[in-house]
C-alpha cells in the first residue's frame, strides 16, 4: 500500500502525462490530472477506511407470507379441482337416476296400457260371447235396447 499512498502524495502538482500523443489542450490535461488525483484520493480513503461487517437483516415475515400465499393458492387450486370433480360426479349420478326413473315410468305406463288393452279386449270378447243358456236373455236385452 506504500506505492498506493505515494500516488496521491504529490497532490495538486500537474504530473507528466503518460499518453503517447500528448493532449495539446492544457486545460483538458489539467482536468484529467485532477480527475486522476481525485479518484486516487477517494479510492485511497475508501480502501483504508475501517469497516464493520454487517449481517444481512432477514425479515422473517416476507418468506412466511410468501409461503402462506403459496399454500393458499395450491390449496385453493386443489380444493377447486376436487369440488368440481365431485360436482360433476353427483350431476352425472343424478342424470343417470333421472333417466332410469323416466325409463321405469315409461315401462310402467306401457305395461299399464298393455294391461288396459288386454282387459278391454277381454271385456269385449266376453261381452260378445254368451253361453247358449243365456242366449234368450241376451236376445231380450238387445230387443229392449233397440226399442
Amino acid at each position: 500500500m506504500n506505492g498506493f499512498n505515494q500516488k496521491t502524495g504529490t497532490a495538486a502538482q500537474p504530473q507528466p502525462s503518460l499518453v503517447p500523443n500528448p493532449i495539446v489542450d492544457p486545460e483538458l490535461e489539467q482536468a484529467l490530472v485532477d480527475f486522476r488525483l481525485s479518484v486516487h484520493a477517494w479510492s485511497e480513503a475508501e480502501f483504508n477506511r475501517p469497516r464493520t461487517a454487517r449481517l444481512p437483516v432477514h425479515s422473517a415475515w416476507r418468506p412466511m407470507l410468501a409461503w402462506a400465499l403459496g399454500c393458499m393458492v395450491v390449496a385453493g387450486a386443489a380444493g377447486g379441482g376436487l369440488y368440481e370433480h365431485h360436482r360433476e360426479t353427483v350431476e352425472r349420478q343424478l342424470a343417470q337416476q333421472r333417466i332410469a326413473h323416466e325409463k321405469q315410468l315409461a315401462a310402467q305406463k306401457k305395461a299399464q296400457e298393455a294391461d288396459e288393452n288386454l282387459l278391454a279386449n277381454v271385456d269385449n270378447d266376453v261381452s260378445r260371447s254368451v253361453p247358449a243358456a243365456m242366449e234368450p236373455l241376451a236376445q231380450l236385452m238387445e230387443d229392449n235396447g233397440t226399442n
Binding site: 506505492g3 502538482q13 486545460e27 488525483l37 481525485s38 480513503a45
Partner: protein
C-alpha cells in the same frame, strides 16, 4: 482484508501450486516432501505479494467504474478469489496487473449482465453521486479558487464518464486513471490497439466538448 484473503486461499495454492517438474525431479528421493512444500510455499508467497501489490489498484479501477464502494469491494474480493483459483494457469504472457485487470473487467461485465437479467429483483444502487465523487481532491498548494475550479472540472469529467459506454469508460479509466499503456489496455480488454485508440479518442472528444462547452 488482504491477510484474510491470503490465509483462506493458502491451502488451495499449496495443493495446486506445485509444479510437475518439481515432482519428477524429487521422485524417489527423500527430499520430495520438502521440495514440494517449498514450491507450494513459494507459490503462495508469490500470490500473497500480488494481492498486496495490486489490490488497491483493482479496487480503485472498480470504484471508478461503478462509483459504488460496496460493489467495488465485493468485485475486488471476487477478482482475487478467481485469480487464486486460476493462479496455476497464469503463464506470465502478460503482467500480473493486466491479467488481474482482465478478470476485474469480466467480473464487472458479468455483474451488470446478471443485474439486467434479474430486473425483477429488488436492486438497490449504492452508487455515489457524481458531485460527491468530485469532492475528493487533494488540497496541495492551491488557492481556494483553484480548488473550486479543479473540483468543478473533475465534476464535469465524472459527468462525461457517467455517460460513456461501458467499453469507452473502461478504456478511458485504464488510460487516464490507471495510466496503463495502450498495449496493456488492449490485452486487458481483449480489444485491438486500434480499437482502444478509437475509444479513447471518442471519450476524450466528449470530455473536451464538456469542458469547452461550459467554459
Amino acid at each position: 482484508m488482504v491477510g484474510e484473503c491470503v490465509e483462506n486461499t493458502t491451502e488451495a495454492v499449496n495443493l495446486r501450486g506445485m509444479k510437475a517438474s518439481t515432482r519428477v525431479m524429487a521422485a524417489g528421493t527423500g527430499i520430495e516432501p520438502m521440495a514440494a512444500q517449498t514450491a507450494e510455499e513459494l507459490s503462495a508467497q508469490a500470490f500473497a505479494r500480488i494481492v498486496e501489490t495490486h489490490r488497491p489498484q483493482i479496487f480503485r479501477f472498480l470504484l471508478a467504474s461503478t462509483r459504488d464502494i460496496d460493489l467495488a469491494e465485493t468485485l475486488t474480493q471476487e477478482c482475487f478469489l478467481k485469480a487464486h483459483r486460476n493462479w496455476t494457469h497464469f503463464r506470465g504472457e502478460s503482467t500480473a496487473m493486466t491479467w488481474l485487470m482482465r478478470i476485474a473487467i469480466n467480473l464487472q461485465k458479468d455483474h451488470w449482465r446478471n443485474r439486467r437479467m434479474q430486473f425483477w429483483r429488488q436492486t438497490r444502487s449504492n452508487a455515489v453521486d457524481v458531485d460527491e465523487a468530485s469532492e475528493w481532491l487533494p488540497s496541495g498548494e492551491r488557492t481556494a479558487e483553484q480548488q473550486l475550479l479543479a473540483r468543478e472540472q473533475v465534476g464535469r469529467v465524472w459527468k462525461v464518464v457517467e455517460h460513456l459506454s461501458a467499453r469507452q469508460r473502461t478504456v478511458f479509466l485504464l488510460r487516464y486513471v490507471e495510466e496503463q499503456e495502450l498495449g496493456d489496455i488492449a490485452t486487458a480488454t481483449g480489444l485491438s490497439e486500434g480499437t482502444v485508440k478509437a475509444h479513447l479518442s471518442r471519450a476524450l472528444a466528449k470530455v473536451r466538448a464538456e469542458l469547452g462547452g461550459k467554459r
